[in-house]
Structures are given as C-alpha cells and as structure tokens.
C-alpha cells in the first residue's frame, strides 16, 4: 500500500513538472499546430469531394489525419522521456531521492505513470481538436459512432506513443547526457518511421532484381515495425501495387462493426498493446541494475 502511494506521489510530481516545462509545452503546441494545419486541409478536401462528387469521402479525411498524427505522435513520447532519469542523476536529486524510504522501482514506475498520463491528456486534447476541425470544415454531421471511434483512435495512438516513451526512458537511463539522449531518439524516430522500409526494399531490389520478391520480403520485415501495426489498425492494409485498401479500412471504416474490426486486427492490436510494456519492463530492469554516479 505504501509502495502504491509512493508511486502516486512521484507520478503526480512528474505530471506537474511536465505541465510546467517549457520544452514539453512548446513541443505539444507544435504538435497540435501541425496536426491542426493538416486537418484543415483535409477538411477542405472532404468538402470538395462532397460538392463535386455528391458523396463525402470522409475516410480520406480520417486517413490524412491518421497519417500526420502517426508521424508526429512519437515526438510527444520522446519529449516526455528523454531526460527522465539522466536529468535527476545530473542534478544529483536522484541521490537525495534515494535516501528516502523509497525503492528504485517506485521511482521509475512513478515516472512512467506520470509521463503516460501526460501523453494521454495531450493526445486526447489535440486529436479531438484535429478531427473536430476536420469534421467542422467538411460540414458533415457527426454521429455518436464516429465519436466512439475517434476516442478508440486516441487510445491506439496513446499505445503507439507509449512505445516511444519506453524507448526514450530506456535511453535516458543508459545515456550520460540529455542532449545525446534526445538526438538519438529523434534519429531513431526518423529511421523507424521514414527510412527503414525504403532502405530494406531498395537493398533487396538491388540484390534480387525482382520487385515482387523484394516487396514480399519487405512486408515480412514491416510486420515488426510499430509504425506499420499502428497504421494497419487505423486505416487498414493497403495493397502495395494498387494502393487500395482490401478488407476493413481500419477503425474509421463505419461499414463494419467494432467487433468485426477487433476480430480482423487482433494480432496487430496485441502487438501494439504488448510491445510498449515489454520495453518499459526493460527500462525498469536497466534502472534497477544501474550504478548511480555523477
């Protein structure tokens, strides 16, 4: 019981610290600005398809929002975690903290909990704002079903960002300086979300000379990437040749029920929910065995 109250206090402190930190506030504002700007454009596009074709292409609007949220949500995770441990060690406050009757696992669990709550609140606010603006500009009435799906999408994004939080807490435990930890995380984010699949495809294509087999082998690799699993649950599987979605088009495809969606994508969902926790356990272990010197 005492342990839980310790964790709660540290989580509270971490949460309050983040809310006052200029770094976190400026990154959250930038994130919200980026997805808001793209949502406005997507809203105009949906309105245009409604006027010209007569039927709204709302899926396209949501796909645009998913694309930009998926690309930039990791930043929130990274910013919250990159100096979680290294900052305390550098300022020697970790030593002071550890002289109190509190265990190391309490500290790191509290930090994870505080940062996790922070991610959830930022995403809840900004994703709702972005989808809301997109729907308002497009002029399409919102149904309860869509709102439920948007909230589930917020949860999916939360677990995706949690993966990056876990990675950044781990690097902040290992690295000696905060700026190295931030730089490493940003490079990791760029490689994972943009470069790696293209790099593997190109190397494969150069070696085999056959684009179909290169495509298939890249697909095998892609299954391990959180980025791919997240977009699959959100907008469905896209055919590599035609670019069309086969089967259920993700969480926003209102032709199917949520049960059908969960049944179709359960392996992806399981991956998305489990992976962050494995990495978080990794960072807890790394912190427990760490020698704190400064």
């Amino acid at each position: 019981m005492e342990n839980i109250s310790n964790i709660k206090i540290i989580a509270q402190k971490e949460f309050a610290d983040h809310l006052k930190s200029p770094v976190f506030l400026s990154f959250s504002a930038t994130f919200t600005l980026v997805i808001l700007a793209y949502s406005c454009l997507k809203g105009m596009e949906v309105e245009y398809t409604l006027n010209v074709l007569g039927s709204p292409d709302l899926m396209r609007g949501f796909e645009g929002v998913v694309e930009v949220v998926g690309r930039f949500a990791p930043i929130i995770g990274i910013v919250l975690g990159f100096d979680a441990i290294v900052k305390e060690i550098k300022s020697s406050s970790m030593n002071v903290l550890l002289t109190h009757p509190i265990f190391r696992d309490n500290i790191i669990l509290g930090k994870i909990l505080g940062s996790g709550l922070c991610i959830l609140s930022v995403l809840f606010f900004s994703v709702n704002l972005a989808t809301g603006v997109m729907l308002i500009i497009s002029g399409i009435p919102v149904t309860m079903q869509q709102i439920t799906r948007i909230e589930i999408f917020v949860l999916l994004t939360f677990f995706y960002a949690l993966f990056f939080l876990a990675i950044s807490i781990m690097t902040s435990t290992i690295s000696k300086k905060s700026n190295n930890s931030l730089l490493f995380n940003i490079i990791f984010w760029l490689i994972i979300t943009i470069l790696i699949t293209d790099l593997i495809f190109t190397v494969d294509l150069t070696l085999s000379g056959d684009s179909h087999s290169a495509q298939a082998q890249t697909q095998i690799f892609k299954n391990f990437l959180p980025d791919y699993q997240y977009t699959t649950t959100a907008v469905g599987v896209k055919d590599a040749d035609t670019g069309l979605t086969s089967g259920i088009g993700g969480i926003f495809d209102t032709r199917y029920t949520l049960e059908a969606w969960a049944e179709e994508f359960w392996p992806n969902l399981a991956y998305l929910f489990v992976l962050p926790f494995i990495l978080l356990i990794g960072s807890v272990l790394a912190f427990l065995k760490m020698d704190i010197i400064y």
Binding site: Y38, C40, L41, E47, V68, I75, L182, L190, L195
Partner: protein, 285 residues
C-alpha cells in the same frame, strides 16, 4: 594574426566534429537516404522524393552539427580559457562557423560524389560535363539550404543557457519551418483570398505563391525542382521550368530565372551568422 586565429579554430572545430560518433551517424543516414531514393524506382518522380527528404528532414542534420557550438565550450568552462588567449570573440564565431560549414560540406559532397559515381558505374551512363555541373549546382544549393539551419543552430547555441534548450529550439524551428509552415500557408492563403484550395483559382495560387516567400524550403524547392513547396500534401502549380536539373534550359538561362531564390539561400546563413556575432559580442560569459 586574425586570419591565423580563425583558421586554427576552424581546424580544431572540424577535426573535433570528425571524431564525434554522431557525425558518422549523420553521414550514414545522409548517404543511405540518397542511395535509397536514387536507386529504388527510376524516373523523374524519384528525384523529387530525394529532394523532398533532403528538404524536409535533413535540416535536422544541420541543427545537430551546430546546436552545441558555443554552449558546449561555455558549460565546460573552456571558453574562459580560450578567451584568456589573444583571440577575439568574433574570431571564435567565425572559426566555429567555418569548421562546422566544412563538416557539413564534407557530408553533402562526399555522399553526392559517392552515390553519383556508383550510379554512373553501375548503369554505364556516360557523364557529360553539363550534367556534372548541374549536379554540382544541386550540391551547392543543398549545402546552402542546410547551412541556414546550421547557422541557426549556432545562433541558438549562443542564445540559450543549456545544450538541451538549444537543441529543443532547433528541433522546434525545424518542425515549424519544414513541416507545419506549408499547410499553414495554404490555410492562410485560403483565408486571405477567400477561395478554397480546390477551387483552383488564379487568385488563390498567386496569394499562396506570395506567402511562400517567407519559407526557406520554398526557395530550395524552386531552385532544385521548380516546385512551390515540398512538405506533405503541398500545393503546387505546374510551371515550364523545373529547377536547375531541367536540361531543357541552359544553366545561364536558369541562373537568370532563379537568381532571387539563389540570393535568398545565399544570404540567410549569413544573416544568422550576423545575429550570432551580435549576440556573442554582448554576451556575459
């Protein structure tokens, strides 16, 4: 005397950068990207992707090279030791700027030469002087564009109190300029002209083109491939001239056509350098 100081500092900075592990990571990523997008599909669309990745994501390499230039010395107290020697503050900035620019030039030109050479060898194409010259011009513009962000990083390293603040400021500016600015300009133009993007009116296009002038990415996109913007779902109007890589036009004609964009790309890094001078000369260390 002054020249010697600057050169000695530039040498030191350059060799320091070469020993940093992060420098090798940056070179590897730069080369990897150019390799990926030049080899994968072939055709003109391909080159646009290379330029897009360089334009949108590579300013981060510039910032990573510059963000700790002065602040690192200040925090490790080596700046105080340096200033006890007969060297002026402006020498330090110039030396640092030169050293970092050399490191950046090495990254850009080494990767371009290696990738272009391997492409020529593998494909068996015959390299003409004209196409090599255009490739060189592309390299110079890429270097100047990235130098804008490096100079900004250097400025941030003087202005901020800690390394983390400086890096954060750099990353924020990068995201806002290279990612958010494009769609914001499109929305602003829509508000200013009262037309929607999809109405495809001339008025909207001219308003957007006018506002785009504030973005360095726009000038880089113009000189390299003749586009208005390179960010995700960017707005573009078809033109006759597609940048310096457009072999339909001679280089002298293209210089006349794009001189404004080229001048802006040339001036911007020195603007930040001037800001760095002012802020460093007045700084209380």
């Amino acid at each position: 005397m002054n020249k010697n100081c600057v050169l000695a500092l530039a040498q030191k900075e350059f060799s320091d950068k070469l020993y940093e592990p992060s420098f090798f990571v940056l070179v590897a990523i730069f080369m990897g990207t150019i390799f990926v997008y030049l080899q994968s599909k072939g055709g003109g669309e391909n080159f646009k992707q290379v330029v897009q990745v360089i334009g949108v994501f590579f300013p981060l390499t510039g910032i990573a090279l510059g963000y700790d230039g002065i602040i690192k010395e200040k925090n490790s107290k080596s700046l105080n030791v340096l200033l006890t020697h007969p060297v002026f503050r402006d020498n330090i900035i110039t030396g640092k700027f030169l050293g970092i620019s050399m490191a950046l030039a090495l990254v850009v030109f080494l990767s371009l030469i290696l990738i272009a050479a391997s492409d020529f060898i593998i494909s068996g194409k015959v390299a003409e002087l004209d196409s090599l010259l255009r490739l060189l011009i592309f390299g110079i513009f890429t270097f100047l564009y990235l130098l804008v962000f490096t100079a900004f990083g250097l400025f941030a390293s003087i202005w901020c109190k800690t390394e983390i603040e400086s890096l954060t400021l750099g990353v924020l500016v990068w995201i806002n300029i290279c990612v958010a600015l494009g769609p914001i300009i499109m929305t602003l133009a829509s508000l200013a002209s009262g037309q929607s993007l999809f109405d495809m009116t001339k008025e909207y296009a001219s308003t957007t083109a006018a506002i785009y002038n504030i973005s360095p990415l726009h000038h880089f996109a113009e000189v390299t491939i003749g586009y208005l913007d390179l960010s995700l779902c960017a707005f573009n109007v078809p033109t006759d001239v597609y940048g310096f890589m457009d072999t339909k036009y001679s280089i002298s004609y293209l210089i006349g056509y794009y001189w404004q964009n080229a001048i802006i790309l040339l001036i911007l890094p020195f603007l930040f350098l001037a800001a760095s001078y002012i802020s460093f000369l007045r700084d209380d260390i």
